[in-house]
Every structure is written in structure tokens, then in C-alpha cells.
Amino acid sequence: MKAALTFWDGRISPVFDVSREAMVLTIEKGAVAGRRRENIEASSAARKIERIMELGVQTLICGAISEPLHRELTERGVVVLAFVAGEIDEVIDAFLAGLLPAPAFSMPGCRGRQMRFRGGRGRGGKRARDWGPSGRH
């Protein structure tokens, strides 16, 4: 599976809508098999979404994202782990360990929002497992 993390200054980029760079990970058997930096700067929201789709990403890990973009990505089958904050390497480790979303990697004031994205399930919930790198992707 492929996962993308939008980043800036070594951390998850604060706003996906205007983020310029993504780290695209190829994950095999729960470990990173490939890692590539990709430019995702786009002149419009529609093009940004097209760019994400072009990269073949199944899971997007990002900071704040406006609702229309989140909805569009979800409708196109991308699992969006939004309102994530932290150093990118730490976030990658947490993701690989199946620990996202987690309060320690949530933007301030967004924990409830993240839990709602998960469909209200706990960490061991079915959807949370499917999202993880060792899921059925």
C-alpha cells in the first residue's frame, strides 16, 4: 500500500489545502519498502486532489484539511487521517505501529474530530485496523 504524509519543516504540514510537499511511503508487510518526496503544490483544490490520486495513495496523513477536500478524497476511496501533528519520523513510526490516530499526534483541539473520522471506534476497531499499514490493502 501507499501512504502519503504532507510535511513542512520536518513536521506534518499544518494545512493540507496549501501544503506543498508529501512523503510517499510504499509499505510492504508492515514496513517501509520505499520512501519518496513528492511535490503536491497545485493551483486549485481539484488539482491537489488529482495530484494525490495520481500518486496512487491509499492513506493520506495530514494536518488540518477543509471539509470539502476531505469529503472528496474520502469519496475517491482515500483514507484520510487528518488533524495529525508531530515530527514526521515519529508520525511514520506511530502509523507503522498502528497507533494512529492518537491523542499524542493530534492537533490541539482536534481529538474529538479525529475520533469521529474513525467512525467512533476505539483503537482496536475494525476500521482502525484496515487503515493501518498491516491492514488488508
Binding site: 513542512w8 519543516d9 513536521r11 504540514s13 499544518p14 494545512v15 489545502d17 496549501v18 501544503s19 506543498r20 493551483s43 486549485s44 483544490a45 494536518g63 488540518a64 484539511i65 477543509s66 471539509e67 470539502p68 476531505h70 469529503r71 474520502t74 469519496e75 487528518a82 488533524f83 501533528a85 492537533m107 490541539p108 483541539g109 482536534c110 474529538g112 474530530r113
Partner: protein, 467 residues
Amino acid sequence: MSRHDDRPPSPSSGRIDTDSILESISDGVFTVDRQWRVTSFNRAAEQITGVSREDAIGCRCSDVFRASMCETDCALRHTMNTGAALVNRTTFIVNAEGKRIPISVSTALLRDEHGVVVGGAETFRDLSLIEELRSQIRGRYQVGDIVSHSASMRRVIEVIPRIAESESTILISGETGTGKELVARAIHGLSQRRDGPFVAVNCGALPDTLLESELFGYKAGAFTGATRDKPGRFALARNGTLFLDEIGEVSPALQVRLLRVLQDKRFEPLGATRTEKTNARVIVATNRDLDDLVERGAFRQDLYYRIKIMKLDLPPLRQRREDIPLLVQHFIAAFNALQNKQVTGVSPDVLGVLTAHDYPGNVRELQNIIEHAFVLLHKGQIELEHLPAELVPIWQHPPVGPSMSDTIQAVEAQAIREALERNQGNRLAAAQELGMHKSTFFRKVRRLGIDLPKKDGRSTPNGGGKS
């Protein structure tokens, strides 16, 4: 040294309580240390961002504030680097609900008692209300992402909330780019189903067999390569809205299956032995004339009556030209926010050209024209040279700077070309249509440098013309 006795009476505490002042103002205020950690966060900041003070203090300001300018053009960073305060920079933040909030930002340095810079302060104002008031003053109508102040769109916009309350199937018709999906999304967004999914399918984009599996899904083993169950769009739209665009392109065989789903609210995934239920609300759209398709037998009459319980006709942009300035403003504001640019507007000449254009691609075409200009421009006003060349043909070799008369000429040239096209190149018919004498017509053609089509429109395809 001044004497304290001469000062006006201080508050009962004996000193001015700056915290109380910060708490009482309606502007958001936060301060950061040199490591960009939030050190104070007032009540208005809590209200605007949706982040509590408890959560914000000690966190990186970009994670708390989430402004579009954080990554590329941070106002505080600029102030900390240069020492210069910034006033009223506009940007947007994304709150915890995923809503974009327009704000204006001002920044200043924070110094300790020795004058050493210890951090920065940012004040910000929520512009949502101002934007809303501006909209009302301009007299525009807005629902969802649709903006208009034309009478024809007003009728559509006014009826959307009532349609949203019902569960009936809706048919939206209109030319390509008129905003059919925006209307469908607005209906969904105002309905009880707003927390459910909005699933859009373009029926014209997929071949019949693929569309069938896309809509209804399939079970593992249904066909070669179907290794696991795949839910269809009807299943994915459970408790939400399913938007079927270009419904006029659906084959007769699939029309039968669609009719059954709409009537019985049941469907069978490919390879399934049991029927499944759907409660998705269905909105369909088309840019074809379904009455004509029904008459020609290309579209089932029973399905047509099933989907047109309520019909919304979206007028093309050329029939509501009064919306063009408003839409131009709307797109400029949107692209400014999205691309962090400071484009102020369009020149009168550009507005003249944009208003005269016929927009076969409708609002989407206008949006693309503005986006084209944004590629070439970072700030200031959109001028003619920022428009696509085909839109302003007579300025390809401008003799002098464009003026009002140039705008009129551009509009004239456009009208003549279109009249020629409508009349298959027949000069006389084009002149008559435009209400001018043929000699005036030819004089204008020469002056405006219009290349006349080779075909003069007088000969017929069967060779019945002049020999």
C-alpha cells in the same frame, strides 16, 4: 522621574490587569516564544479557532492556528525576522470542524523589560460576519458553493432548502459546467442526510458493464478477477445521497435495473444470491434533453417519470451575464485564499471581454479563465494579457494600450465571428442578424482584421449552389 501621585487613579488592584483586557476584546490574541510555542491565548482566540487555551498553551503555533499562510508566508516569522509589524494581512484558518474561516492578522514583537525580543504577538479578527454582510449588501444569493444574484438562479436557490427537506428523487438539467453537482451537494448539505456520504458517479464516463458493477457492486467470484466483495455506490451511499451525473448516457438495459432500484429500493450486486436494501437518496443530472430522448425511444419513459418528480433547470451563464462580475470576484477571492496571492480584481477591459464571451463551458469555463490569469499573476489587477489568447484575438498584436474603445471593438469582433458561425459563413445573413448594412459589415470586418470563412454559406452540401 515622574511622580506616581500625578497619574489618574488605577484600578482597585493597583495595577492594570492586561489579562482582563485581553479577555474582554473580540479579536483573537496569542503570543509565542522564540521556539514558536504558544505562551498565551485569549478567549476570542479560543472561540475563533475552536481550540481551548488549555490545549493551545505550549503547542506549536502552526498546529494551533492552522492558517493558510503558516507554511509559506508566516506573518509572525516575518515580524520576528525583520522586526517590522504587519497589519491586517488576510488569510484563512481551518478550524477543528474543517471549516475555512477568513481572518485578518496583525503581528508585533514581544520584548522583555530590557528590550530583548522574547517572542511575538499575533492578533486576528474573524471576517466571516463581514463577508456575510458584504454578501447581503451586494444582494447576492448564496447556498452551498453557489453564488448568484440573477433572477433565474434566485428561483433555483430559493427552492433548494425545500427540496432538501424532501426525500424525493430530483432531476437537475443544465449544460455542462452550469453547476449541477454543486446544486446536488447543496441539497445534500442542507438535508437531514448531511452527516452521511455524498457519492457522485459520472454515468457517461464508464462503459456499461463497469458502470453496473460500480453502481451495484459485486461478490467474490462473480467474474474472473473478482477476488473479493466490492460494495457498489448504492451501498456506499447508505444514509446519504447518490448523485448520478449524465443519466442520459445510461444504456436501456441498465435503465431497467435503475428503475427497479428507484421503485423497490432494492438491488442485487453482481454474483449475489440475495437482494440488498438501499436507503440512499438519489439525485440525477443530465445535459441532454431527456424529453427528446424519450420521444426517440433512447430513454425509458417510466424511468423518466420516476426521476423527474422534481426538476431543476440550471440556466447557462450566457443567460445570466449579470452574474459574471460576481463570479469573477468569487473566483478571485477563492484563488487568493487557496494560492496565497493578492490579486485585487480585473481591469474594466477584462470585465468587458469576460461579459461579452458566450461561455459554452459555462461557469467552469469562467473559473478556468480566472485560474489561467492566476498562473501568470501574483498580485495586482488581471489585465488583458493575462487572459487566454483565444478570448482576446484582436489584442494579439496590440497597436497601443487597451482602452474602452478597444473593449467595444473586441465585443464587436466577437459578435461578428459568432454571427458568421451561426449563419454558416453567410455574410449577408450575418449582417442582417446583427442589424447592420452589408457595407458597414464588410467595413467592420476589414477594420477589425477578421478572417472571413472560406465557405460563404450560400452553397449547399448537395452542390446546389452557384456554379
